[in-house]
Amino acid sequence: MTVHEIRTRHCDSKRGDASDGAVLAEAVGGRLSRVDGPAKITGAAKYAVEQQLDGLSHAVLVESTIAAGRVRSIDTAAAESAPGVLLVLTPDNVLRLNTATDWLGTPPPDAPYYPLARDITFSGQHVAAVVAESFEQAVAAAALVKVSYDEMAAIVDLSDPKAGDGIPIDAMTKEWGDAQAAFASAPVRICAAYNTPREYQTPLEPHGLIAHWEGDQLTVWEPSQWLDGMARTYAEWFGVPFENVRLISPYIGGGFGSKAFAYGYSAVAAIAAKMLGRPVKLAVTRPQTFTAYGGRAATRQTVALGADAEGRIQSIVHRGVNETSVDGMWVEPLGSVTSIMYATPNFSSRQNVVRVNTVVPGALRAPGENPSAFGIESAIDELADEVGIDPLEIRLRNYAEQDPEVKKPWSTRQLREAYAAGAEAFGWSKRTPEPRSMRDGNQLIGWGVAAGTYPVRRAYGEAVVRILADGSVEVESSSIDMGQGTYTILAQTAAEVVGVPAENVVVKLGDSRYPRAGVTGGSRLAGVMTGAVYKAATAALDQLVGLAISDPNSPFHALQANTLVVTKGRIASPRGDGPEVSITELLGSVGRDHIEAMGDTMPANSTVEDRYKNYTTIATALSHTEGDYSRHSWCAHFIEVRVDEDFGTVRVSRVVSALDSGRLYNPKLAESQWRGGIIMGIGQALLEEGIVDRRHGRIVNNNLADYLIATNADIPDIEVISVGIPDPHSSVLGGKGVGELGIVGVAPAIANAVFHATGKRVRDLPITLEKLI
């Protein structure tokens, strides 16, 4: 295994953008291009299942073809005697694992965990696996495994009569004032139901892993948004010490929430590797990515808004439901945006979760906030129409000056600025209010606006910064880069603090042997890790300067300076008197081959146990409303659509979004993440939907030809405008979340634009053509 390294390169190293003043590209806030880009474009970047290991064998899954029932028997005879087959795993012979602690830190029940199921709770569940010398042999033998079932009636989805009302989730209840009464007596009332379907993360790199045991040491190459969390899961499953598990994940081809956990197939591969004493590769197929783990749960919401005649909200009554599986719990917090976007004296939000026969749903870019915004941001548009005022004006009229729920000031909320900047760039003032009032031939044109938000989630991370005798700087952390730019911004941070060119910084990520980090999810990593690297680099620089001042062999020893400065890798006194030497020369003269320092974002008195908990669960993550402030990023999307009046096809023709993510560590990368979110939002609004065969409880469009995500042709130029200011309450360097914000509010902005274009309000996503013809 070669240790993975990334060197920064000089890419458009001239200047940052105007909003950050004249920032050097490679400093924090500069527009340095992705340092991992060349390796990815040239194919040099090796992904998990591309690793070549001696003796590698191949596992292929056998999945249930019924959605509910029980496995009666599994006939493995034909598969076992097929060429090349090494092992056929079934519930009868699979190793008994321990149940592992979940991501919230809930202690596990003292019960065994079997990753192959006898009791079938969804179509596509893993029931067996075949391991063979070659992938082709394993595929052929897997087709020979005969499973017979006792089938039961499945609860197909939320609309199934058997599904019922579900389980109330009290923790989701939010109430103040008397929402029902205030709604009943409000002069203007609107009430409507908004639905979102099952949606999937569809990362370009499908899931999969290579598991390899050497004694009781397990090495796993697996794309991961959370090395330490997943390493803990493997360790607990197999009852080995945490330190015995090494996860390696230098490159990840997109995760969008789906790569933070070790799943059943991960356990299958690790079990097979243990039983065979050989490394085992298990590559999840594209169709399996629809059932091997969960996408976004289908949701339903009703939003009732009571307002005065001027559109000032007096009451919001919100009820939400999301689906979960019959044997696992997933809560998609549907009231999360509803409760904070607008000022209202009376509020009520409750949520139920309904069990259906599906894989346990999971996180998909902005879980909770995304569907929540579809509800409230559509509803406020309906209210604007009802009252007869401009959709932007109604948002300003109900602007929340503080967090209406916890009644604390916002740390920063540049949403008014976002509305202003977006409206100006879009030309919103030229909008004609009537639906169907703008057209170009057969195309009805509509303009819509919607806001979005995402909380600032804060957790912990640590990093080592090493200044080497050759003048380069190394950064190590078990955090990851799944395309969002961690390699790049950590290089920028270390370069700026230590005072070396970014191209001299080597960032090493994606190995659980490195200093630890929590989950890369909830848009928290950049804020956490720039903070940890900032601290580690500052400590390393202090050591370097300390040595230079005090070491008797240092050329600065005679100078008796209080401090020294390092610029472009050269050390000098601030006033320029005395010598100027390179880092290499200094370390040479004091006889050191490196200087190393660790930094973290943990409370000072943290114990070893605290650290373990902090990095392997989210139990200790800080609430966004902890302390004196409520912390969130904010955005406003202005979107133009063209709807063909005969065909009902919707094309997004213009997007202007203004976003407040606080300070941007690298505007180029932040913009590209915002755009990525907006692009996914366009797909969500118009295309994406897992379609279930109701007789079989099975997703039938489980491939990328039939599950439609946006293509380049669906995406116009997207103008993004940063309106953020540094937010000292949110992170060490003043940034707020970036990655998930962009998608929140896109779908309602499009639905609102479609209403403006056509006069038809579509409350069920996606907005496909048959809903408009």
Partner: protein, 327 residues
Amino acid sequence: MRDFSYLRANSIDAARQAAALPGAMLLAGGTTLIDLAKCGVTEPDTVVDITHLKGLDTVTVDDQGAMIGALARMSSVADDADIKSRFPAVSEALWQAASAQLRNMATIGGNLMQRTRCPYFRDPANFPACNKRSPGSGCSAIGGVTRGHAVLGTSEACIATYPGDLATALVAFDAIVHLGDRQIATDDFFLLPDATPDREHAIAPGEMITAIGIPASAAARRSTYLKVRDRQSYEFAAAGAAVGVEFEADGRTIKDLRVALGGVATKPWRARAVEEALKGKLLEPDTVRRASLLAIEGAVDHGANQYKIELAPRVVARAILKVGETA
């Protein structure tokens, strides 16, 4: 592992002989064949690679018409200057199909022979019942997810849509499929499912498409292919129409009209009723819209595909008006 033999044909005769072997299948660009092999739908015993045959990838266009070799790539035919000027509907049907990567691999012969996208057809492990795949086993689609299924030409045995775009344009302009010496009109080449949906083409074992001939016509010269779908690219048609028109000397009266529909029928669907209704008429929006309704005469929906019955005539009308305008 499922073994199969691979034969590389070095002459058309050799290819035809090999293709006559039981369980043999021709391999051209492979974008359908290999895809379906991965799904477990096609399980050839012998794969006969015809991509090395010489002289089958040419496109020649003269005053009589076009002759397109079976191995010509979708992308090169779409880009051919003469095809673009004399058969714009053919070029447009091609460049709006699939993706750039697929068009660079896929051949014209293979394109005609592409199979349905019916999700039940493509998933034998979960849906054993499929009359097209295993005759007599039933149809999993009826009563299931039918959004993409056909509304025209269906039978009780099968409601699968023929998904291709090119064939729609070919049927509109009376193209001829050349199977070596035998020739057959494209409209007759594609079969209705009736009771035998497993039989899709009038082609016998041991036969091979060698070329497609498209007779020149004024209507083909003034033609278009309009494809409507939710996604702007890389999606099969919700409804598509290939249309060509020729006017009388007055430039307004319709002399010849060709209309075929894609994405809504079990085979490329020539809409002769629309053609006949408009021949001799002036091309006027209301007349065109009314006549276009004839395109879906006899249509039957299966629930979620009901919208196709609304949509198809509108696509036809728009396409006719569009070619009519571009004088």
